[in-house]
Amino acid sequence: MSKTLTLAGLVTAALLSSTATASIGGKPVVLVHGFAPDQLFDNPDSFDEVKRDGDAYWADYWLSRAEATVHWDSSERIEGGIAEDAYRQVVEISRSGLCNDGCVFLSHSTGGLLTRFLLENQNRWLAQDGLNPINVLATIDLASADGGTEIADLGISLAYNDNFFLSGAKAAFGAVFGVQPTPDNLGVVNDLQTNEARSLAVTPNGIPRLRVVGGGSPYLGVTKGFIAGKDDGVVPVHSACGGTSAEPVDSCVSWQAMTGKLTNQKAPGALWYNHYPILMAEKSDHNGMRGTQGGVTATPVVNNVWVNGLVVDFAENRYEKRPWWKLWGSGDQYVVVPGSESKNLSAVVYDTLQ
C-alpha cells in the first residue's frame, strides 16, 4: 500500500514538476521512451530509478521540449508491470487535464509499441475509473519498434545456447541490449519479437501516427546481418515505417530511397491504418535519432501526385547529382529537407513542426 502511494506521488511529481512550455503544433508533448538496456541486468530498485533512467533517455533533446514523460521498466513485460506503471501515469495525465485540449505523444523505439498498447486500452480502463480518456491528436514515432525486431527473435534462441559458433550473434545482441541473454533476463525483449509485437494491441484506430525512420549503422554494423532488410542498427525499416508484415524492405515508399534519391525501392506492401511515414534519414542511427547524432540529411516522404490528381512538383527542393561513373545523360534526382544536414533528426522533426 505504501509502495503504491509512494509510486503515485512520484508519478504526480514527475508530471507536475515539468516546467517545459514547448509544444508541437501548439499542443503539449508527452514522451514515451524506449528500451533501457541497463535495466535488464540491474533491475531497478524503485520507480524513482526508472524515472531517472527515463529522463536521462530524453535528456539530449526532447526532455526540455515536453510537458510529461511516461516512464517504464525494461525488465518487465508490456502486458504486465509496464502496463501497470504506464497506466498509473496515464491516470495522472487524465486527472491533470494536460491533454484536455489535445496533446501529442512522441515515442522512440519500444516506446512506439507501448504507445500503441496504451492508446488501444486507455479509453476502456479510464472509463472504468470514471476518468476521461487522454485526447491524443497524433503520435510522432521515432524509430518505432512496434513491428518488432529480429534482434529480439535472435535473443530468445541465444538464451538457450552456449555455443562458440554463436558468438557473433551474441555480440550483436549484446551491442543492442547490453546483456547476454538468459531465459530469465529478457524482460520487454520478449515483447519485441516480431511475432509478438505484431499481435500486441493491433487494431486500427483514428489517431494518426507520424513515423520517422532511420537507416544508420551503429555498433560497427554487427547487428545488420541479423535484421531483415534495411534497419537503423536495432529496428528494421518494416517496423519503423508501420509495415503490416515483417518483410525485408529498403524504404517506406516505393518511389524514394532513404537517401532521398527518387528511385524504385522495395517498400512495405501495406502500412497499418493511419500510419504515415513523414521523414527518413539514411544515416540516422537508432539511438542517435533522439538527438545525439548530427549531420544526417533527412528526406521528406512526399509524392508529387498527392491530392485528387493535383500534381505538385517541389522542384526547388530537388537536386540532381550525377554518379561518378555516369558519363552522360541526366543524373539522379534527390529530394531533401533543406538544412537538415546540419542538424540531428530530432531537431529536424521539432523545427519542422514549429
Partner: protein, 354 residues
C-alpha cells in the same frame, strides 16, 4: 616494342578524355540545383481554402488541404489528405485492402532464423496462437553445409519452465524436418518450442515462441443482415465460453471483393449471444447493387480487464456468407461527424502551416 603513330594518337586522346572526365566529375556544377516553380496540373479541380483548419472544423472530411509552399508542408498536406480519407469512416468500419487486413487479422507465424557459421536454421509454425486442442505443426529448414541427423528432438514448454511436452522431428526431405504436437490439455500461456539441432555434432537450440489460448467462444452462424441508420448490420451468433470484454473483428467482402475490416467491442457473458457487426454506409455506398456479403478472417480478443492482465485470442475457422438485404442500395456516403476527428484534422493542417 616500337610505338606506332596510331598508338600515340590513342594515348593522347585517352589522356585528354581522362582529364576532361575528371574535371567534369569534380566540377561543382555537376550537382545542379533545380529551380522550378511548383506546378499544378489540374488547377481547375483545386479550390484552396483561405483557412483550411477552420474549413475542416466546419466540414470535416470534405475539405481539401491548401496548396503547400514548402516541402515540409507538403508532407503534412499529404498526411492530412490521407487522413481525411480514412477519417470519413468510423473506426469499427475501416476501409482496407487485403494486405492490411492480413496484417491485422491473420494468425501467421513469421519464421525465425538463426545463423550458425555458414549454416542457417529457419523454424516456422503453422500459426502463432493456438486454441487449446489444436495441432501445432513445426517445420525446421536447414540451409548450409553442416551435417545433421535424420531425427531431431524438441520441447514445448511454458517460457517460465524448463520442462514441457516432447516434440519429435523427422526429416521429410534433405534439410527439412517436420514435427507435430497436440495442444490438448496444455494450459493457456506463452510457450517456447525449443528444437535441438546437432550441427556437425555440436548441439544448437533454436526457439520459436507461440501461445496456447483458452477456448473463448464458438462461431455459430450469421443471421439475416439488415440496414439501419445508414449501417449494414450483420448479426453473428456465437457461443461464449468465457465472460469478458471482447473485440470481434472480421474482414468484409462484397461480391468477392475485400472492402474493409469491421469490428465490435462489447461485454459478453457466457452462453449463446448475438454480435452485431456494422459496416457504415460510407464503406458500402459504392456497391448499391451488392448481392453477396462475406465475413471472413475472424479474430476474437478478450481484452485485458485491467492493466497487467493479458489479452486472449481466438481465430475461429469459418466463412459466413449472407445475401445482401433489400435496403442495401439506400446506404449513403455520409462522412463521420466526430469532433475528435475534426480536432485531429485541424492539428494536421496546423502542422502543414507551420
Amino acid at each position: 616494342m616500337r610505338k606506332t603513330p596510331l598508338t600515340v594518337l590513342l594515348a593522347i586522346t585517352g589522356v585528354f578524355t581522362g582529364v576532361g572526365t575528371a574535371a567534369y566529375f569534380l566540377h561543382d556544377t555537376n550537382d545542379q540545383l533545380w529551380s522550378l516553380a511548383a506546378t499544378a496540373a489540374q488547377p481547375s479541380t483545386f479550390q484552396p481554402s483561405t483557412d483550411p483548419a477552420k474549413a475542416a472544423a466546419q466540414e470535416a472530411g470534405t475539405t481539401r488541404p491548401a496548396l503547400p509552399d514548402r516541402i515540409e508542408s507538403a508532407v503534412f498536406a499529404q498526411v492530412a489528405n490521407a487522413y481525411q480519407t480514412t477519417s470519413r469512416h468510423p473506426e469499427y468500419s475501416a476501409p482496407m485492402n487485403q494486405a492490411q487486413m492480413n496484417g491485422y487479422l491473420s494468425n501467421n507465424h513469421n519464421p525465425v532464423t538463426l545463423d550458425v557459421g555458414d549454416t542457417t536454421l529457419a523454424l516456422s509454425l503453422n500459426q502463432y496462437r493456438f486454441t487449446e486442442g489444436q495441432t501445432l505443426e513445426a517445420l525446421l529448414a536447414k540451409s548450409g553445409p553442416a551435417i545433421t541427423p535424420t531425427k531431431l528432438s524438441g520441447t514445448a514448454a511454458l517460457i517460465t519452465e524448463d520442462t514441457g511436452e516432447s516434440v519429435s522431428f523427422s526429416e521429410i526431405e534433405p534439410g527439412a524436418y517436420e514435427g507435430t504436437l497436440s495442444t490438448e490439455g496444455m494450459d493457456p500461456g506463452e510457450y517456447d518450442l525449443r528444437v535441438t539441432v546437432p550441427l556437425d555434432g555440436s548441439p544448437i537450440t533454436h526457439v520459436a515462441r507461440f501461445h496456447i489460448e483458452p477456448h473463448l467462444m464458438d462461431l455459430l452462424e450469421a443471421d439475416r443482415p439488415s440496414v439501419s441508420d445508414n449501417h449494414l448490420v450483420m448479426p453473428v451468433d456465437v457461443d461464449v465460453h468465457q465472460s469478458g470484454d471482447y473485440e470481434i473483428a472480421a474482414s468484409l467482402s462484397v461480391d468477392g471483393r475485400a472492402v474493409g475490416m469491421v469490428r465490435e467491442t462489447t461485454t459478453l457473458s457466457k452462453g449463446k449471444r448475438t454480435i452485431r457487426l456494422r459496416a457504415h454506409g460510407t464503406l458500402l455506398a459504392d456497391y448499391p447493387d451488392m448481392e453477396r456479403l462475406t465475413l471472413d478472417q475472424f479474430r476474437i480478443r478478450r481484452l485485458p480487464p485491467r492493466p497487467g492482465d493479458t489479452t486472449e485470442f481466438a481465430y475461429p475457422d469459418g466463412t459466413l456468407n449472407m445475401d445482401a438485404p433489400t435496403g442495401a442500395s439506400s446506404l449513403m456516403d455520409e462522412p463521420l461527424k466526430n469532433p475528435q476527428v475534426v480536432q485531429r484534422m485541424e492539428f494536421l493542417q496546423r502542422l502543414q502551416q507551420q
